[in-house]
Symmetry: C2
Subunit: 213 residues, 2 copies
DNA sequence: TAGGCCATGTAATGTGTTACATGATTAG
DNA sequence: CTAATCATGTAACACATTACATGGCCTA
């Protein structure tokens, strides 16, 4: 139920569904996303649960605006969520699944091209996040310790985005280099197919002491 | 549609729904997960689409086993997916959303405790992945360039898991240190609330040249 | 006048989780 | 005797994406 809570969090300042979508696309993008068509019914449900209330105002441009704001119950719900400890869900990376099975193509140059295009994507995302970081440190300084409470928390999530995307670019580089070493070694086919397929996590855990000890 | 494709990938070796679930929990966990109740209908749909076929065999233990295997069409579909370029979806991190709004609690010690518990989680995940890595390099050597094709691709996704989780631990440390510096500076309230809230991505992008140039 | 932005939504479909239902075998 | 593991599934619900529907205003 995280989208609901994100909407509650954003609605500490009254806003409309349309504007919330813009904020999500602008500043929340690196850790959450939602389509506008998902936001409208979510807001309606929150109002039915009395966590939000709304009023309608005419717009200078276009149709009437429906402005939502937090109720006291809404604020309580938000605080409960924040105090409830970290919500850590499963991460899903389809492109990793693709890599996992890509031996089926039987050609490392395909994997290489794939990795180049992944790297390309993430280095673009990285540049984007760093541009925002740069804009922030320019305005607010280089010591997040000194930011306002709100700015500090926002900045820290941006840092996470940067570190996490950086690690992906590093991974791409590492992998591409490894493929290149492999391709340079010439097409020596029929490498032995030991290990990796069989052992379970439990076995790996047991084997750990032999290894790092 | 990634779960279907993951099932196709795994079913290059015939298997049952039950066993596929075990593999998912064991070796795929760091980039995908699925409940068994999702797997059974997914397999059924794939069979209806003629990408899989099944036969039933008695089990030494418990009820009959339904063994699925890839059809030629299934293999085609798998290869198409692999050749279709990286599928990069939106990442969703509920705990980052929590941090983003945590200024609402008005107490950095709460954020600190939260971060400690996030760090704790990810350092456990990291230890787990490193144990597997260790088990692999022990068996198959330290040069992934020399692994079999299948092992190479599997190993590389494991590396991604390790790098990505590591970056999260680093982020936690960075953030906790920053909070500590802040708390050490004493409870100087009422910091100015400039920046960060207003500028859009587009503005940040425009501002970039001023900054990194 | 064509296309984009403002602003609201619904409907259909797809994906994922939780709970429920069944029943045999085996290890403690 | 009890609990776990083996092995299958269904049903209800929650969450997300895509497509569709409407219509005024503004800019090129």
């Amino acid at each position: 139920m995280s989208l609901s809570h994100i909407l509650l969090g954003l609605l500490r300042e009254p806003s409309t569904g349309y504007d919330l979508k813009a904020v999500l696309s602008d500043r929340i993008r690196h850790f959450w996303s939602a389509e506008i068509s998902q936001i409208y019914p979510a807001l309606k449900r929150l109002e039915q649960r009395r966590l939000l209330q709304s009023r309608v105002e005419p717009s200078p441009k276009g149709p009437n605006r429906k402005i939502y704001m937090l109720t006291e119950e809404g604020r309580e719900e938000l605080l409960d969520w924040l105090r409830g400890g970290p919500v850590i869900g499963t991460e899903r990376f389809a492109y990793l699944a693709q890599v996992y099975f890509m031996d089926a193509l039987g050609d490392f140059r395909e994997t290489r091209a794939f990795m180049i295009s992944v790297r390309d994507h993430f280095s673009r995302v990285l540049a984007h996040l760093q541009a925002i970081e740069c804009e922030v440190t320019d305005t607010a300084g280089h010591m997040p310790e000194c930011y306002s409470d709100a700015d500090f928390h926002r900045f820290v999530t941006l840092r996470m985005g940067i570190l996490s995307v950086k690690s992906k670019v590093v991974w791409c580089d590492e992998t591409i280099e490894s493929i290149d070493r492999r391709l340079a070694g010439g097409p020596l086919d029929n490498k032995p197919n030991i290990s990796l397929a069989q052992p379970t996590h439990r076995q790996a855990l047991e084997a750990r002491e032999d290894c790092s000890g």
